[in-house]
Structures are given as structure tokens and as C-alpha cells.
Symmetry: C2
DNA sequence: TGTAATGGCTCTAGTAACTAGAGGTTCAAG
DNA sequence: CTTGAACCTCTAGTTACTAGAGCCATTACA
């Protein structure tokens, strides 16, 4: 049996966040001591690790709820779980693409100005003002 | 003179968002008609375009406030603006790196299961449960 | 057994950056 | 001069937490 603090240390999820997950139904309500403190067992630890991992991978709480529900219905769960993971992958790829474009433009902007001298005509500010200077159409 | 709707169409910023920017002080309060409707001029359009562009590049509202303030103090503004842009660049690079790791793992997870057959032992769910299977330590 | 430190409890409110909706007013076109 | 689109303010909701107040439980040590 673990206290909420021990669970927190083992999973890397902060204590208030664990309580928040319980509140939203993502974590089942654990047992309590006579003094009303939460006590978790191995299953609780596993569940929280699963959530932590999925959050790390960028799954939304909603998506995680979906995945957890699937675990209760082994029939068809594989296809559905795959769909959720694939959607997540598409999302991540799109984000990478967008960020790379930003990286390119920021590089261009940051390089244009040496941080010295030209005080009245800062290239950073000019670039941000004038969208037409952009190489990428974002 | 533009109405808030025209400004919205020209910049791609939604009407409630424009009002929100005004509320938070990011946009100056524009003039009003006798009937209390906002009317914007060219300067308002420029300012909003600047904000839109910087938001697109992932700058926080806070950072944008900083940049806007710099525009009022041409002395030293270039160095400071450069610092803000560089910080933004570091941020973007870090995000890209993290997302690439996620992409790799999601690819691995999504490929492991063909969405058919193996219903009781879904690879997606197993992967998410067992952090030890990960190739990357995230 | 007493006490102090640490950790736990609930509840409210705050964060970023908007978005949605209710209920009412103004503007511009025909 | 009427109609319908666009405008107004205000409140509340979103996501995924985080922070703080004020109080209670547990545990280690003397």
C-alpha cells in the first residue's frame, strides 16, 4: 500500500495532479485509511503509470479515457486502440512540420540582427511587423 | 476605418479574440462610434497583424507585450528583441526534439499491431502500460 | 505517552489563451 | 423605415493543471 506521496514519487506525477485525475474519473477512487487518507495498491500504481506514459506521448486526457475504456472490452479493442494511436501520430507529425517552419523563420530573424548598433531599425521587430518578409506562408 | 469584423477578416483573428486582446491591454482601445461600436484605423490593423504573426510563431502573449513595449524605446530595443526571439528559437528546437522522439515511439507502437486478430493482447495498450518497452527514455 | 515534523485532507481560485452563449443594440442596404 | 447582419457587454466554459489557506493524520523520536 502506498500513500499519495509515494505514488507521486514513483510515477513522477505531482500529488495535486493525482487528485485531479481522480476527480475527473481518470483514476478510480482508492481506499482510505480510518483517517481519510488515500491508500493505493499495485493496480493504482500501474494505472497511473499508464496515464503518465500516455500523457508524455501527448495523448489528451480524453484519448486516455478512451484507451482505458478499451482495456475493459478486449473484443475489438486492438483496432480502436490502433486508431487512437494513429490519430496521435498524425497530430505529432503535423506539429513537427509546423515547428520546423517556425524554426527556419526564427533562425532567419535572429540572425538578421547582430544585437548591436542599428537601434532604430530592428530586424526582429520589422520581420514580425511585415509578414511579407516571411519565406514560408504560415 | 474598419469595423471589428473587417479587421477580423483581414487579419484572420477572430472577433472575440480581438476583444480579448484589447481587454488584456495587448491592443490599444480603439475609437468608438456614437453607437459604441469599435472603429479601427491603419495603425490598429498593423498592430493586430504584428500580434497575429508573433502568435503564429509561438510567442506568448507576455513575450509579445515585451516586444511591443520595445517598439516604444528604440534605444537598446534591438538587443532585447533579439534575446526574445532567440529564447523563442531555443524553445521551438526543444519542442521539435521532443516531438521527434514521440513520433518514433508512436510509429513503433502503431506498427506493432495490425488492427486485426490479436484482440486480447493489444500491442498499443501493452506498450502504453509498460514503459520498459520504450526505446527512448522519456 | 507527548510532541514535532512531515505529509495528507478539502476547498477555492488562478493560469493561458481563448471560445461560446445569452440577451440586447446599432448599422447599412433596399 | 424596416430587416437582418453585425455589433455590444457579460458570464461562464475549455484543458490540464497549479497554488494557497486552513485544518487533520501519521510517524519518528524522546
Amino acid at each position: 500500500m502506498f500513500t499519495i506521496g509515494q505514488l507521486s514519487r514513483q510515477t513522477g506525477v505531482k500529488v495535486p495532479t493525482i487528485r485531479y485525475y481522480e476527480e475527473t474519473g481518470l483514476l478510480p477512487k482508492p481506499g482510505r485509511t480510518a483517517g481519510n487518507q488515500r491508500r493505493y495498491d499495485g493496480a493504482g500504481l500501474e494505472r497511473l503509470s499508464f496515464i503518465r506514459h500516455a500523457r508524455d506521448l501527448g495523448f489528451s486526457i480524453d484519448a486516455i479515457s478512451g484507451l482505458i475504456e478499451l482495456q475493459g472490452h478486449p473484443d475489438q479493442s486492438c483496432q480502436a486502440a490502433n486508431d487512437i494511436a494513429s490519430a496521435q501520430l498524425v497530430d505529432v507529425c503535423a506539429k513537427i512540420k509546423k515547428l520546423k517552419a517556425l524554426e527556419k523563420e526564427l533562425n532567419r530573424i535572429a540572425k538578421g540582427c547582430d544585437g548591436q548598433g542599428v537601434s532604430e531599425n530592428c530586424y526582429v521587430l520589422a520581420s514580425l511587423s511585415d509578414h511579407a518578409l516571411c519565406e514560408d506562408n504560415h
